[in-house]
């Protein structure tokens, strides 16, 4: 569990983002103050959406927006259905039956009869609660569908079921253009964010970082290449090991592949096994399966690294990149998904398409401390400007404001 959640105030961000950024938030808040923003999602704990809302709702309230957060109720069958939807919307093979669609409709109906819709703006996150929009005809109000996943290449049956719901919203929000669908309602882009005060990102004592490295038998005095990600073929852990082996021919270094695993994820165990096999007996390759709630340890591993990889073959937004850039680490990332927004090639890191490309860039970075420093500083600034929670809060308030001015590209405010 993140130890930093309780009692964080807007002022705590001032030393990080500067007073100007907070003033800017207050100026925008002045236009939406007093409005009731009701968030609705499918889980109160676990997952990126819950993590963001936990931090964002108190900040919005502090800014004068009456933000609230409700969670829909559903049984196991419902969440099995929405998991299948999730996969199908991502384009994975998944059978969607009529019974599953009926289960979805019934659960939405049950939630409609129990939930109080108190918001002036009702902000519905992801596909699970999307069907609640059917209440709009009766209630009115402004409804926004915030889609955190990539629905650009969905299975037709899943999208054909979801689209009529989504088209009833006043606007939708996607994390990047590549994730969106062509729709008749306005679509905004709001990138996700990291919280610089969370356990995963906050500053750490050097002694703690060293302690974590030593705990995992890493030598703090020698260069460390690291990839933090779950053991998934799409994260290409074997490609990272191949890159490391190429680098190792000329440069002394260690490799860390660290990630969590779920006991019910057979593919994860398989990929972990493959990574361990590829690592062989090389004592400088450290394949670490971390337990849940290891955020501080992950933070320390990244801070103790020389270069960070996120060599994904397919990726959602890939916020692990921003997490590393925030710690002033140059990142070598696969040129896919949201990684392309976070790594400005040659400025905050390098985009690559192959283990050979990753190895070449890693070798270049290991040999050039100035380059590492320059990319690291640029990366920190890029994240500060674009991928911190405070920017995310501002964008959400602007979306509320945008609903007051439909069809206007330039809005003059007094």
């Amino acid at each position: 569990m993140d130890s930093t959640r309780a009692g964080i105030r807007l002022a705590d961000y001032e030393s990080i983002v500067g007073s100007e950024a907070l003033d800017e938030l207050r100026v925008v808040a002045g236009y939406v103050q007093g409005r009731r923003l009701q968030n609705i999602n499918s889980t109160a704990v676990g997952g990126g959406v819950a993590e963001i809302l936990t931090r964002m709702v108190p900040l919005l309230r502090e800014l004068g927006v009456e933000a609230t957060w409700d969670v829909i109720k559903g049984d196991e069958a419902f969440f099995d259905v929405t998991k299948a939807f999730h996969n199908a919307l991502h384009g994975k093979p998944e059978t969607i039956t009529d019974e599953m669609l009926e289960c979805y409709r019934e659960t939405i109906q049950a939630n409609l009869s129990q939930m109080d819709f108190t918001g002036d703006v009702i902000w519905v996150h992801d596909p699970q609660p999307a069907g609640l929009i059917t209440r709009k005809k009766q209630l009115g109000r402004a409804w926004i569908w915030r889609c955190h996943i990539d629905v650009s290449t969905p299975q037709a049956r899943a999208w054909e079921f979801l689209a009529p719901y989504v088209e009833q919203y006043d606007a939708s929000i996607f994390s990047m253009p590549d994730f969106a669908q062509r729709m008749s309602i306005p679509q905004f882009m709001v990138a996700p964010s990291i919280d610089p005060l969370s356990d995963k990102n906050r500053e750490l004592e050097k002694s703690y970082v060293t302690g974590v490295l030593e705990k995992h038998h890493l030598d703090p005095e020698r260069p460390i290449l690291t990839q933090i990600s779950r053991f998934d073929r799409l994260k290409d852990p074997l490609g990272v090991i191949a890159a490391y082996k190429l680098v190792k021919k000329r440069h002394d270094c260690q490799l860390v592949l660290a990630g969590g695993g779920a006991p019910d994820d057979p593919e994860g165990s398989e990929v972990l096994g493959e990574a361990q096999e590829a690592a062989g007996s090389d004592p400088d390759i450290h394949v670490l399966l971390l337990p849940p709630f290891s955020d501080l340890e992950i933070n320390a591993l990244v801070r103790g690294s020389t270069v960070v990889f996120q060599k994904s073959i397919k990726e959602g937004f890939g916020l692990t990149v921003s997490e590393a850039l925030w710690k002033r680490k140059p990142v070598i990332g696969g040129a896919v998904g949201g990684i392309k927004l976070q790594i400005i090639n040659g400025v905050t890191g390098f985009l690559v398409h192959s283990p050979e490309g990753a190895a070449r860039r890693a070798a270049q970075l290991l040999a050039d401390a100035d380059l590492r420093e320059r990319l690291g500083e640029n990366g920190r600034l890029h994240v500060k400007q674009n991928f911190l929670l405070t920017r995310h809060v501002k964008d959400y308030m602007l979306v509320m404001l945008a609903l007051d001015h439909p069809g206007e590209d330039v809005v003059h405010l007094c």
């Binding site: 640029n378 600034l381 590209d409 003059h412 007094c414």
Partner: protein
């Protein structure tokens, strides 16, 4: 719009990126959308990087040029698109015509051959929805203006120098317009001659302050 009879009000803007749902995989795709898409879209793709990356000068600020180079490997066209002199235009429609003509000429020169971008590298047309709001900073006279301009944000500078001139079709930047109204013709012209497209916003601000200093307003 500042007027010579009034103090100068510094404004700033906040932006939301709006997706249009229009995409392109080839130059003919790009061309067909460019001909009809809103001016806000053209402005966004030729200007948003000025605000995004002011900590380091990117080689090219123009998304169309970057896409032609990186996704289509059309280097000659990319160079030409990147070299478009944005100061030569006072309205986005003129800029649109120039980009369209350039791509048409390129396609003609290649006999209509059109490369397709790799999957995942499609061009996504976006636009910004801009909210213009007062900063509360007001300059009563020219000396006061050059004092206060030092403290404005890059976003405010971007609005008065880039957005006002081209997107809002004010023909010049707001600063020069106001300085002319104050009778400072030479200084107004000097500010107008600054090229905001080859420097960072921080450097542009320094140049404006320096011009003021040279004219005795420091």
């Amino acid at each position: 719009m500042p007027s010579h009879t009034e103090p100068f009000q510094f404004y700033t803007e906040r932006r939301l990126v709006q997706l249009t749902g229009q995409t392109a995989r080839t130059l003919p795709d790009l061309l067909s959308v460019l001909r009809v898409i809103s001016g806000a879209c053209i402005f966004y793709h030729t200007h948003h990087l000025f605000l995004s990356h002011h900590f380091e000068k990117p080689i090219v600020y123009n998304d169309f040029a970057n896409w032609a180079a990186e996704a289509l490997r059309e280097d000659a066209l990319a160079e030409r698109l990147a070299a478009i002199d944005l100061l030569a235009f006072t309205a986005v429609r003129q800029l649109r015509d120039a980009i369209v003509s350039m791509i048409e000429a390129h396609l003609k020169s290649t006999g209509g051959r059109a490369r397709e971008c790799p999957p995942g590298d499609e061009f996504h047309f976006c636009k910004s929805k801009s909210f213009i709001m007062p900063t509360g900073i007001v300059a009563g006279d020219v000396r006061d203006f050059f004092q206060k301009v030092r403290g404005i944000t890059n976003v405010s500078l971007y609005f008065h120098f880039l957005e006002a001139r081209l997107r809002l079709e004010r023909r010049t930047n707001d600063f020069s317009e106001w300085l002319r109204g104050c009778g400072e013709m030479e200084l107004a012209d000097a500010v107008d001659r600054l090229d905001p497209y080859v420097v960072t916003l921080d450097e542009l601000k320094d140049q404006i302050v320096e011009l003021g200093r040279k004219h005795g307003f420091d």
